[in-house]
Symmetry: C2
Amino acid sequence: MIDRMAKLRATTISVSLDGYMAGPDQSLDNPLGVGALDLHQWLFGTKSWQASHGDGVGATGVDDDFAARANENIGATIMGRNMFGPVRGPWPDDSWTGWWGENPPFHHDVFVLSHHPRESFSLDGGTTFHFVTDGPEAALSQAVAAADGKDVRVGGGASAIQQYLRLGLLDELHMAIVPVLLAAGERIFDHLDGGPTGYRCAEMVSSPAVTHVRLVRD
Amino acid sequence: MIDRMAKLRATTISVSLDGYMAGPDQSLDNPLGVGALDLHQWLFGTKSWQASHGDGVGATGVDDDFAARANENIGATIMGRNMFGPVRGPWPDDSWTGWWGENPPFHHDVFVLSHHPRESFSLDGGTTFHFVTDGPEAALSQAVAAADGKDVRVGGGASAIQQYLRLGLLDELHMAIVPVLLAAGERIFDHLDGGPTGYRCAEMVSSPAVTHVRLVRD
């Protein structure tokens, strides 16, 4: 058990009506998988997302409220290898530095779950990527230390979130249910022996675009 | 292909956040499976449901609008064996006549998908139960004929809906997404080789209790 006050939170996780959070055939051209870009349009339009990722011009309202809350009090991020990039297997070199360019939107330490070791490296704006090869609990311990009292976000993908659900270590899961069907890809509630156990719905609020759901540990 | 103007509709299908429309361990005491009664509270409270199943006293509003639409222009019902009752295997006798008492709320012909033949029988109020052993397409043909120009409802359960989704014969699926987690049971979008294909979301509307989603064929 990891001694911590900090919460582990998955936020702004967009899920299709048939339960998918990523489409099939992820690639360099289609990092979210085929069709999955539609899942995130509600987020891309918010003022909060545009403030951290775009030109700062965006909508306020229910969707923006959830996008803003997602960024509050986050001191470190954990993500799966596939969210970090399309490279599979051992790292051939250090050329891949993530999808986010020279100044990634994290501005804190990011811990990438990987089976293959790689040296940490830093980019502009205070983002340092670390590669953790000894499992999700080790990654959480390191992230909690790096977050220095703030919460830790698990950014995705599906496999990373499922690992923390299985371990009962995820404290909060905010999903946006999006009115699209993907029919294939990666389901959020898969590889769990059913649904997640030990969680309840603390909040369900709809905007014109999506339905926001916040699950918390019982 | 069945020549028809009538639509095949699944309506007021309540689904948990983790995708379940029935709980585990269905039995005589727990016909919907453990925990699944919570899924239907939004429906039980509506004026339309109470008009057909209860004392006629219930709430109006978004939920009632969907409950009322579900009953419009329905001339026949199809259901799976497990929705009809807890008896499995060959019918030992004719004593089981459904969950709904002497005056079931259908008031039209009901076609039960079964592997085991049984004579049709009628109850009060115009409901006749038929048992169809030659598959979902045969049941649909018979139901369309019985509906005499009106639509046909597939009432459930999950397996019956999935059979019609796989065949591409379901024209409309109205789901109510309910803010509960079941963690086990029967998922609506299972046994489909992924999500349903050939459908799109035509409507997504929330009440304070649930989010209503209407899927239609492309």
